[in-house]
Each structure stands twice: as C-alpha cells, then as structure tokens.
C-alpha cells in the first residue's frame, strides 16, 4: 500500500493562495490523477485557504498549515488556521451564506469544497481556529 505525507506552513497572504493549491496538486501527482481530479483538488484547497485568509484572520498575516496524506488511493487534505473560528459551522456551510457580501463573496466556498471532494469535515472553536479536513479517492480503475 502506497503511503506518503507532507506538511506546509505559510503566511496568510493572498499571494500564497496559488502557491498552496499548486503545492497540493504537485503532491497528489503520485496518485496519477486525471486533469479534472487535479483541478477539483486545487479548487477545494483554494477555497479553504481563502476562507482562512479572509474570514479566520480577516486580512492579518498569521499562519496557515496544510497537511496532506496519501493512503492507498485516498488523498487527505487538512487546512488549519488559528484565527477567530466559526460560531455556527452548519450555517457557514450553507450555500450562498456569507458574512462578507459587501466584499463580493459568493458564499460558495464550502459548497465548492463539498462538490469537488468526496468528503468535507469542518471543526471550529471560536477564538482558537478552524480545521477543514477533506478526502478524495483518486481511482486507478479507469481506462487510459
């Protein structure tokens, strides 16, 4: 069984959004994903990292940690921040719900994560931070 892991720590600057999703995309290439699967994971990572920058830290420069793990055909991605936290996770995950409509936020971050990953789990403690755990199976049983 194939197993691997990596951890990434970076500043919550918006210019790091591209870096974060490309790093995760590079890590997952060992699973031999399709272009579509790579695009899905990049979008999901971008959403989680953007949430941390805009909502958790509200523009302040702090630290975001991404941990990735591969177990067999399964990719695990965890995006963690140590920001303000989410008081009501279920509400925050509803499509179109946003606390920053004036900033042109679509309210679709979590909806996109759920659409593009197989499983999304969010745990948050107000004042301490938020963890977004996502998994996606990269199947090899496809015809090339």
């Amino acid at each position: 069984m194939q197993q691997n892991q990596m951890k990434l720590e970076f500043d919550s600057r918006s210019c790091n959004e591209g870096f974060a999703r490309v790093a995760v995309a590079a890590f997952m290439t060992q699973l031999n994903p399709t272009l579509e699967e790579v695009a899905d994971v990049k979008t999901a990572v971008s959403e989680a990292v953007t949430n941390a920058i805009i909502h958790a830290y509200e523009g302040k420069v702090r630290t975001i940690v991404i941990s990735c793990r591969i177990e067999g055909e399964e990719l695990y991605v965890e995006v963690q921040d140590f920001g303000r936290g989410i008081p009501d996770v279920a509400l925050a995950m509803q499509p179109l719900y946003t606390t920053k409509a004036e900033c042109d936020r679509a309210g679709m971050g979590f909806a996109f994560m759920e659409a593009f990953m197989d499983h999304v789990e969010v745990t948050s403690v107000p004042g301490e931070g938020t963890q977004v755990r996502m998994t996606k199976r990269i199947s090899h049983d496809r015809e090339e």
Partner: protein, 111 residues
C-alpha cells in the same frame, strides 16, 4: 504585463488572467469598478480565453459586476469559456443570470 481591460464605445472587455482566485479577483474588481463608473460602460465581457483556474472568488467578482451593470441597465457576458471553466460557472448557478459562450458571438466584438 498583458492588458487586462480594453474599452470600445460602451463595451468593456476584461481579459481574465490564467488563474482567477481571491488574490487576482480583488485587483480586477477595484479597477473594473473604477472604469465602469468613469467610462459610461454598458456592457462587460469577461474573456476567459487565458483562464485555466477559477474558484468561488472569481464567481463572486463576476456576480458583483453583474449586479452593478444590471442596476445601470447594462449587461454582462462570459466569452471563450472552456469546458473546465464551464463546470465552475454551471456549478455556481451563475449561468442563470449571465450568458456564457464557448467562442465569441458574432454580434459581440472583443476589443
């Protein structure tokens, strides 16, 4: 750096970058609003021909401009949209309010 905005008459074309995320959307948003206000723009075309990545920040930026243009009696469309970008636009539901084209419709001229 390649030109992002081109204006012809009351039509503004926004040549979107390769990656349309929160970082890039913020910059486009500020400049686009400034131009819409000062140049009497009635039609905004988002040109996706260079774009290979977009997340919900890009959707938010487009919806925001759509709202502005609708308020002013104008229109917004997305042109040169690839299959991958169409997936994102479809998932977001934005196709219900703005027209999306694979190429460039004859009556629209990109400037």
């Amino acid at each position: 750096m390649e030109q992002v905005f081109t204006i012809s008459g009351t039509t503004m074309t926004v040549h979107l970058p390769a990656e349309l995320d929160h970082h890039n959307s913020e910059q486009i948003r500020k400049e686009a609003d400034q131009l819409i206000r000062t140049k009497n723009i009635r039609r905004v075309l988002f040109d996706f021909s260079r774009t290979v990545f977009m997340d919900s920040s890009g959707i938010g930026m487009i919806i925001g401009r759509y709202k502005t243009m609708r308020f002013m009696g104008g229109m917004v469309a997305a042109v040169c949209v690839s299959e991958q970008m169409r997936r994102i636009l479809t998932l977001s539901g934005i196709y219900k309010v703005i027209d999306i084209y694979e190429g460039i419709p004859q009556q629209m001229h990109l400037c």
